[in-house]
Symmetry: D2
Subunit: 343 residues, 4 copies
Amino acid sequence: MLAVLKQSPAPGFVIGDVPIPEPGPGQVLLRVAATSVCGTDVHLYDWNPWAAARVHPPRVVGHEVCGEVVAWGEGVTAPAIGTRVASESHIVCHHCDECRRGDFHVCENTRILGVDVDGAFATHLVIPAVNAWPVGDTVAPDVAAAMEPFGNAVHACSYGDLGGRTVAVFGCGPIGCAAIAVARAQGAVRVVGVDRNAYRLQLAERMGAHAVVRANDEPADAAIRAAAAGGAIDCVLEMSGSPVAVASATRLVRPGGWISLLGIGDGLDVVDLSTDVVMKGLSLYGVAGRRIPATWEQTTAYVRDGVIDASALITHRFALRDIDSAIELMKSGECGKVTLTPD
Amino acid sequence: MLAVLKQSPAPGFVIGDVPIPEPGPGQVLLRVAATSVCGTDVHLYDWNPWAAARVHPPRVVGHEVCGEVVAWGEGVTAPAIGTRVASESHIVCHHCDECRRGDFHVCENTRILGVDVDGAFATHLVIPAVNAWPVGDTVAPDVAAAMEPFGNAVHACSYGDLGGRTVAVFGCGPIGCAAIAVARAQGAVRVVGVDRNAYRLQLAERMGAHAVVRANDEPADAAIRAAAAGGAIDCVLEMSGSPVAVASATRLVRPGGWISLLGIGDGLDVVDLSTDVVMKGLSLYGVAGRRIPATWEQTTAYVRDGVIDASALITHRFALRDIDSAIELMKSGECGKVTLTPD
Amino acid sequence: MLAVLKQSPAPGFVIGDVPIPEPGPGQVLLRVAATSVCGTDVHLYDWNPWAAARVHPPRVVGHEVCGEVVAWGEGVTAPAIGTRVASESHIVCHHCDECRRGDFHVCENTRILGVDVDGAFATHLVIPAVNAWPVGDTVAPDVAAAMEPFGNAVHACSYGDLGGRTVAVFGCGPIGCAAIAVARAQGAVRVVGVDRNAYRLQLAERMGAHAVVRANDEPADAAIRAAAAGGAIDCVLEMSGSPVAVASATRLVRPGGWISLLGIGDGLDVVDLSTDVVMKGLSLYGVAGRRIPATWEQTTAYVRDGVIDASALITHRFALRDIDSAIELMKSGECGKVTLTPD
Amino acid sequence: MLAVLKQSPAPGFVIGDVPIPEPGPGQVLLRVAATSVCGTDVHLYDWNPWAAARVHPPRVVGHEVCGEVVAWGEGVTAPAIGTRVASESHIVCHHCDECRRGDFHVCENTRILGVDVDGAFATHLVIPAVNAWPVGDTVAPDVAAAMEPFGNAVHACSYGDLGGRTVAVFGCGPIGCAAIAVARAQGAVRVVGVDRNAYRLQLAERMGAHAVVRANDEPADAAIRAAAAGGAIDCVLEMSGSPVAVASATRLVRPGGWISLLGIGDGLDVVDLSTDVVMKGLSLYGVAGRRIPATWEQTTAYVRDGVIDASALITHRFALRDIDSAIELMKSGECGKVTLTPD
């Protein structure tokens, strides 16, 4: 089958021809309908230090995917053949201490699709049956593929009641923009998007931001406060990973408020916890992956029933063979979600 | 009446003679039965920069107190004359945004007893009637006085279910030691106390720590893991304010676990939020003061019904006139809770 | 001043002339801008058994009110003179066990405005300063008056995350219709209104119900399931007080779902708790009054920032002198919220 | 192998000889170390209407079990051969709406061990690998077998913070008595056990009840209030299934309190929801099975680390061949947990 491969331990992907995989016990085989590109795929392409330390080529890459169940492995009884599904990208062990607590999203033995096992940028892939999430017939394949990162946004919005709240979203990439839509759907009265990139701020407005703030290397505290239009900022959803943004978030959130931390940065963070967290009684939540399965269930409801228009997030579409162009576009930052289709 | 005063903007306290205050509308007059000394009182004594910026002498100091209601101001209908009460030390405005959300513990206009208004190191004091907390007849006056800091410990233990959990307490002063007892009472299966001070580690063991670790300037990660005896550390209660301890806490807590931050430090904290908080899905809670009134209610139940032996925390008793000796002892660190009685 | 009075222990109200009250310690005097009529006022008018047992005439009635602060009693420092406020109708003691837990909404010594003390259907009234809730300048007086019952709806919607959920609202009076709007604002994907009254079902649709079901004395399970359009019913908001409705709710809600019980009925309820609650793992929440102050804060945010159009709930307006016509209309059921203005 | 069988659709069990089962894909084979008897087993023995409608003989019965993993089916990778495990008795589908929400404990397609598939009263059984819960080396086999019902108690105690609370437990069978121990471990200050059976009340006291009340057909409200010794009852854990007890619970719990409903009764319940639930702001929680996996994790911590002495619950031990005597003893009510060993 056609597949996008990390062929060797070096930058770049190649388009290859590999055998269609066989589903093992507990696995299903999917025929891919649509996939989308994540920042992680760009790291794999660039062969950055994290990728070089973790990935063992050759590897079929890609982990955001929608497909149709076309075969069952041993012991599988659902989802039915023909079902259209999205895929949770974390393959968890069900046996470590974290899994035993129900914290599957931080399983110690997580294997990631398209990183630790062969992934989705191909015509077919195998995943565990329990990772296959039926999405119904009304959700378009490219939206279903994007439910994985969209779920990150739903997860980030789940740490407090956003109804009636003023929210700032730091980092307006696809997850940040999805979070803007989720916060609006949950009744937030004012949502402010913050990013360095003008394209992304336009997307933030399209997804429902009441106001946007263009950031640079300096803290944008004053501009963000002004954009909140007099309301105290109840919550920051930190999707940028920038240390400047994290420290700014702890200053900006009102006493008793909270911060969801999802962005991953390169280095250490410097924060005045005593003044800005302890004395203000703030709560900070690290948001890893998606709650399994609860986040998927809520995400499906939002997307399937049109409470949120996830298709507005998808700005560009490529064929799988044009992966290089897709990666190039991702690096420019002048895009929302970028999807790939295998034909 | 006899009172301990910050007489002038300089180090030290003086024993003075001031008029017994009159309760204004909504206030009650208490005859003091017992008080206890807080680290804040030491800062006031030393006239550190925080104190110098905030306090306007002359001021009667002290804010941990048990007394008997002896007079009502205008409009007061309860607690009855003769009731023995402890006092919440935060006088809140009931009108700012935080109060309107029920987050009284982070009221923007908080005035602190013995800091912003005259306090408790005297034979009498006035407080708002709503700050007077009846403690019943079975709680000793010095224990009732210490319910204010004890409440900090109860508040810190309220951010997750400690039943069946392994907990590390960083900083074993009176609040940390109280937290050890609260964690045990809530069903924690293993509690590890960490401090630099051998005296305090003995107190930690007396309050129920299963193991203790002597810390120094270096992270004590390995020793703390060993003291957890193979169990993952579910939760750290950070009472030390040390930046070394905060960073260590984020490394030590298992994925999906949580940290209550109560200790106040002098400077900035350096933490690897991406690796140690986001990817591990940790939650960090800033613990300011006590939930009003919920923390008081739970603290009273613990103390009154003997679930926790708070009297074991009280290691030294002085007469009010001997405040200098009490402060000196506090600075040595060779003590638990130190109480003062006005006669 | 002009006032609507329960003059004697018998049916009916009279328009009277009574002195403007003086604010006592801790109280404020309000000049009434608008009031609205509650079902409780109808009970008082009819002098039903509950009213006869509780009310001691003469009594100025009415408890849903917006007014301007025009004078302070002793010890009051806020809200500022001239502030426009709504009023919490429950005057609580701050000293009983429930208040000490922060459960002010179920205070054992609750006195209700216009029931136990003189109320709001007049040109002026006094209330405790802590009951006066500033609403800002953008909320119309009649909407502010209705924030008290609107708060009941917000409280009922606070027992679970409605984002992505299918909700049935039983009883589409003003509180039920407000709950429909709140559920929509919080991201519910399908909201079904159920009532016997066609007028109210029209109002339910205007407030955002996706579908409505006309009920009669028989359980309407099948019709309600059909109206849910294939989605499992996650939550019922029970506002009718009908025993038929309560039992129906326990059958209809999907396993793991929840019911907010707010409607008050006349007699006993017959429910199969074993089959419909225990084995299905349902949660049932009794919803009394409003969380003080948290519900007010959230209600204000919804109304002030236009997330919810509460004015659509207000269907009729009368002058205070026309109270008899207002009561008559209320009894017909052919109305939403009915407001009264004192001039 | 030796097995206890429901051989035909009629009362009684027979001791039979059946083949050792083969583990299928995703299953493990256990060699049984200990089992225990549930009230459900008595219903199966008696062939009551529920059993007659659900069970299709022949069937190996029994579902509370501890065993050692001795073989893996296809696709299994854990727990390791030789691991001692307890078993969750609910075999869930992972695909229905409830499972997709993470509410596995109310899976619509639950198959119960020893009811819908062959069970544990034998020398060997097969279960899904994900139902096998490693218990460690320090937990005795009969205690591990009883972790399934013990988990019901832990689940029932998880709906509110019991620290500092006064709790009444209605029904002091093994689950009720376990709940008494769990409530004590979580810091409850007073626990009252209520039952009709003197033997069980003795067991309740042994498990930590501060006071016990002997009930009969009449509500025991006054006696239970007296046993609470002046404290308001914050929570009732209803384990009896008696309609008298349920109604009594709603009257006894203080405003703002809660009830965990776990007992299953024969018929309808009559409750004054308006007066006793709505106006008091109570919460009622149906407790079905155990949260999977969270309840197991917490139960293991309690048992393994000796916070709770579960062995005190086990009052009688039989060989598997003596199942008739064990059932007879169960019917007498003069027992706590009754265990069976296969040799």
